[in-house]
């Protein structure tokens, strides 16, 4: 059942960032978060779906997220998550950190040969 090897292996911190980003659009239930990640990453980022829930609950514990039970459009009961102000600040700082990191990695990869 393990993810295929060629799938990008997602670090936990990255998953947190993706969840925060997803919820920055508004309250969503877990499955909606997952679909959003799938859509925007064009199916390139595949995660084990079960891993989503420990991540969501841990962020709830850290007060980044708040949760309420509600009903979907199709009238099914589901647990909806939304960003708290703390979560919003967390998202901003993680985005900065992530882009700085990718930029740094980008420089390293773009460098030509040894000087």
């Amino acid at each position: 059942m393990a993810a295929r090897e060629e799938d990008l292996d997602l670090l936990r911190g990255t998953l947190d960032l993706l969840i925060l980003r997803a919820l920055s659009w508004g309250p969503m239930h877990g499955l909606a978060v997952l679909r959003w990640i799938e859509d925007v990453s064009r199916q390139q980022l595949q995660i084990e779906e079960g891993a989503l829930y420990p991540a969501l609950h841990r962020m709830e514990q850290r007060k980044w997220l708040d949760a309420d039970w509600g009903y979907t459009d199709r009238n099914r009961k589901a647990k909806f998550y939304r960003l708290t102000p703390v979560g919003r600040r967390q998202l901003a700082s993680q985005v900065t950190k992530w882009s700085r990191y990718t930029q740094a990695v980008g420089y390293v990869l773009a460098a030509d040969g040894a000087r």
């Binding site: 499955l31 084990e48 779906e49 079960g50 829930y53 420990p54 509600g70 979907t72 099914r76 647990k79």
Partner: protein, 895 residues
């Protein structure tokens, strides 16, 4: 999205929610894949693959949820406490009268209880300040044939034998105490310094280590002339200015003799009942032959886990062996005559004493009773409040507040009140302790250790919490009744009847307890009055006393010592305002004097030897200075120096040793071949020298100069000068004597200057102390019961306003209404007094040993007590009765 409900709070609902969330994911996913054209089975397989290990993820998530729930519960609790506290504070502020009365009552009750608890804790409960305090054993000897009530110490021979052979004791320390004259030098006057002659082992037993230098070695006690000394921390600072190089310096007793200081002991090091400034090796030569001289105090260190009975039987076994080895020291006749026996006791019990322990427990019970009365008052206040707030309670219940919520609500309120009261009580107790310590008898052991400490504060808050819980539970306990109240919409007669019964019971209990306290206090007052009326045998008024010590080395003959005293007396007597002056080796009421065996020349075999009697050397002026009446001749100096050895005996000893004969003209001497017969020249009135509560003491007053031919006499070194000068206070007399003494001999210190009245009142201190505290407790108890009675009667009157109105409308006269109210109060009073007298009869028995010439069931005391409480009950009802008399029938019936 519509919000439906908050997150779950129970474990079951938490699990359910998690399963719902995960099921939603799986089911929606399956539906999605089916919509994309997969079969049901394929879709399920695909979803399972994508989800990963379901159980692992679920349990990981669940673990997080549990943490969340725990945190939330904690927050919730803290939040509730904060909210309830704020609410309770506001409620209490809204009824300042209730709050203030409850606070003051509780603070007084708790403060008094905390004060006496601290006293009890420090004096009785707490171990002595030694590392192995609970293993320290007092070792003494009883001599019932000599004196029934006295205990003596042990001999050096016993010390060596027990120390070497005891199976129950790990070690034994031996000591003697004395006031040692230290010669003056630059900047320091001559002084008498409390000195301990200690065995080297004593430091091991007590666990004392030196702060500087070293302790004694056992071999340093072998020589009769000690060469070394240790000094206390305080003496090091006072006399040596905390000199870091003090070790190696010398301490001079007089010009010829001195010792080397080998170390400084840490602050606080000392014996349980004696704080020495100088410690000198006791003369302990293991090669010396044992002697029948049982005057050395001993403390043993029991091996761990050994009982006091085991120590006793172990030492008794050794004593038997010891006596068999030394029949010359312990001849059978000696054993038979004296009833000589060993006595061991835990050191702490020995130091504190049964009587002090008992007195403090009694006082603690008294303040505990005061606290109970105070608590009953506050409980009554709470009952009144609950009545007033029954609608609030009922409403809360109706709105869904469960038993727990209500309990939390009322508990917070009562706990807040009692905790604030406890804080105030700590301050009350802190102040009260100073007062109590000022009143406390000096003989109360371990007094210097006492101050309010964390144990006292902890006791205070524990008592407050207990009271708070009880007060808080009252409304919850009555809640079920209140529910019916709301349902009926009526006045809840059942409830108020039950509350009324509770109120009356509380008041009756208060009165009963107050009776017990009042009876106890009255018994102590009567004892004290009896004690003050006791014929002491001397007159302390206008008398100043002080101690002087002559250095042994410069006064080597009794002629020289008596010459000093004669000259001093002559010069002091010549001072204007001095009526008489004399000196004695032992002042009355300054502790038990030792005793010596005496024999007489009276030819009557049974009475010839007088057991053991206190022998007190005095100067001729003593009897006049103390106003002790003497029949026959009170000797003067010329008679003293005439070589006949004029002796005055007390009346009691005259009766004992010379039955049916006038002792004047007979001879008496110390039972020792070195002495000649002294001539009895007078018979003195009996003096209660060992305490006013004890029978008069037999005394033989010896002169400073023995009869010609006596080979050994060393009286007159340490004496108390008695100056009768009513126009002078003690300080002035002391200053004058000090000047004269220093003109005569600069090496003679004058100390312990005080009025003789002080010594008398100090000997009464234990009785007066117990009496004062019981009186205060009884006073508070009376006031509190009066307040309690007043509250209940007022409540009854206000509750029966309409009934009273009807009666008055029907023609009842004011006097009838008033007497009805009065009757109510007296009824409560009578029941309370009845119960109280029964309790007092049972309870005051424990007072018996503290009483003097009063029986615990003294009828006068009980009658006065009962009458007082009934008067209190009557007075407490005056206000409510007047209010009842002024009820306007029309208004009362309308309302």
């Amino acid at each position: 999205m519509r919000r439906v409900f908050r997150l779950p709070f129970t474990r079951g609902r938490m699990d359910e929610a998690l399963d719902d969330e995960l099921r939603f994911h799986i089911e929606e996913r399956i539906r999605e894949f089916e919509a994309r054209g997969l079969s049901r089975t394929q879709a399920e397989a695909e979803v399972r693959r994508r989800f990963g290990n379901y159980d692992a993820y679920r349990s990981e998530t669940r673990h997080i949820d549990e943490t969340i729930m725990r945190d939330q519960h904690q927050l919730e609790v803290i939040d509730t406490i904060r909210r309830e506290t704020r609410h309770a504070a506001a409620t209490l502020r809204r009824s300042p009268g209730f709050t203030l009365i409850a606070l003051v009552t509780l603070a007084l009750g708790l403060g008094a209880a905390t004060t006496i608890f601290t006293l009890l804790d420090r004096v009785v409960l707490r171990p002595l300040p030694y590392p192995d305090a609970d293993r320290l054993v007092h070792i003494g000897t009883l001599w019932p044939g000599v004196r029934a009530d006295a205990e003596f110490a042990i001999s050096r021979g016993q010390f060596f034998y027990f120390k070497q052979h005891s199976a129950a004791l790990a070690n034994i320390g031996l000591y003697d105490t004395d006031m040692m004259p230290i010669s003056g030098d630059a900047g320091f006057p001559a002084e008498r310094v409390p000195t301990i002659y200690a065995s080297a082992s004593l430091f091991d037993v007590l666990g004392i280590a030196p702060e500087r230098g070293r302790l004694f070695r056992a071999e340093e006690g072998i020589s009769r002339d000690p060469a070394v000394a240790l000094i206390s921390h305080g003496y090091w600072q006072r006399r040596f200015g905390a000199d870091p190089n003090v070790v190696g310096k010398r301490l001079y007793f007089d010009k010829q003799s001195s010792v080397e200081i080998i170390g400084v002991l840490p602050a606080g090091a000392g014996l349980p009942d004696f704080k020495g400034d100088i410690w000198i090796p006791n003369w302990l030569d293991p090669a010396a032959e044992p002697q029948n001289n049982h005057t050395h105090s001993a403390i043993g260190l029991a091996k761990p886990g050994v009982s006091i009975e085991a120590v006793q039987s172990d030492l008794e076994r050794l004593q038997t062996q010891f006596e068999q080895q030394w029949p010359r020291v312990y001849p059978p006749s000696f054993k038979q005559r004296t009833g000589f026996a060993l006595h061991v006791n835990w050191l702490r019990q020995q130091v504190v004493g049964d009587k002090v322990t008992r007195a403090l427990w009694i006082l603690f019970s008294a303040v505990a009773v005061v606290l109970l009365i105070a608590a009953a008052n506050v409980a009554n206040l709470f009952l009144v409040r609950i009545d007033a707030r029954r609608r609030e309670t009922a409403l809360r219940t109706a709105l869904g507040a469960n038993r727990g919520h209500l309990a939390a609500h009322f508990l917070t309120e009562s706990l807040l009140l009692t905790i604030v009261a406890a804080g105030a009580a700590a301050f009350v107790s802190y102040a009260l302790l100073h007062v109590v310590l000022a009143l406390a008898p000096q003989e109360l052991p371990r007094l210097e250790e006492i101050s309010l400490d964390w144990r006292g504060v902890a006791f205070c808050f524990a008592a407050a919490l207990a009271a708070g819980v009880v007060f808080g539970v009252i409304p919850v306990a009555t809640r079920s009744m209140d529910l019916s109240l709301l349902r009926e919409g009526g006045r809840g007669l059942t409830t108020s009847r039950a509350h009324n019964l509770a109120r009356r019971t509380l008041v009756v209990a208060q009165v009963a307890l107050a009776v017990v306290l009042f009876a106890g206090a009255a018994l102590m007052v009567k004892s004290y009055a009896h004690l003050r009326d006791v014929r002491m045998g001397f007159d302390p008024s206008g008398v100043s006393v002080m101690t002087l010590a002559l250095p042994y080395n410069s006064y080597t003959t009794y002629q020289r010592t008596s010459a000093f005293w004669q000259q001093l007396e002559d010069r002091v007597a010549a001072l204007p305002g001095v009526e008489a002056v004399g000196a004695t080796e032992t002042l009355p009421l300054t502790g038990e004097s030792g005793c010596t065996a005496v024999v007489t020349d009276f030819v009557n075999d049974t009475a010839r030897t007088g057991g053991c009697v206190p022998t007190v050397p005095v100067t001729p002026g003593y009897f006049e200075a103390m106003h002790i009446r003497v029949r026959g001749t009170a000797p003067d100096w010329s008679l003293t120096q005439s070589g006949i050895g004029p002796v005055v005996v007390s009346q009691a000893i005259a009766d004992q040793l010379f039955p049916g004969t006038d002792p004047i003209g007979h001879g008496i001497k110390i039972n020792n071949d070195a002495f000649q017969f002294f001539r009895i020249v007078g018979v003195a009135e009996d003096v209660r020298a060992n305490g006013l509560q004890k029978p008069p003491v037999n005394i033989v007053y010896f002169p400073l100069v023995p009869p010609a031919g006596t080979r050994f006499w060393n009286a007159g070194y340490g004496m108390a000068l008695v100056v009768r000068a009513p126009s002078m206070d003690a300080n002035r007399a002391g200053a004058l004597v000090r000047r004269i003494a220093s003109e005569m001999d600069r090496q003679v210190p004058v100390d312990e200057v005080r009025p003789m009245e002080f010594i008398v009142s100090r000997s009464l201190a234990q009785t007066s102390f117990t009496m004062m505290l019981l009186l205060i407790s009884a006073g508070i108890a009376l006031v509190l019961s009066a307040v309690g009675l007043y509250g209940v009667i007022s409540y009854i009157v206000s509750h029966r306003r309409s009934e009273i109105g009807i009666r008055m409308a029907l023609g009842a006269r004011v006097i009838e209404v008033t007497s009805m109210v009065l009757r109510q109060s007296l009824m409560l009073g009578v029941v309370g007094v009845g119960v109280g007298v029964a309790l007092a009869l049972a309870g005051t028995k424990v007072l018996e040993s503290l009483l003097f010439e009063v029986r615990a069931n003294d009828p006068v005391v009980l009658v006065i007590t009962g009458a007082t409480l009934l008067i209190v009950a009557a007075v407490a009802s005056v206000g409510p009765a007047r209010r009842a008399a002024h009820v306007d029938p029309v208004e009362a019936l309308r309302g």
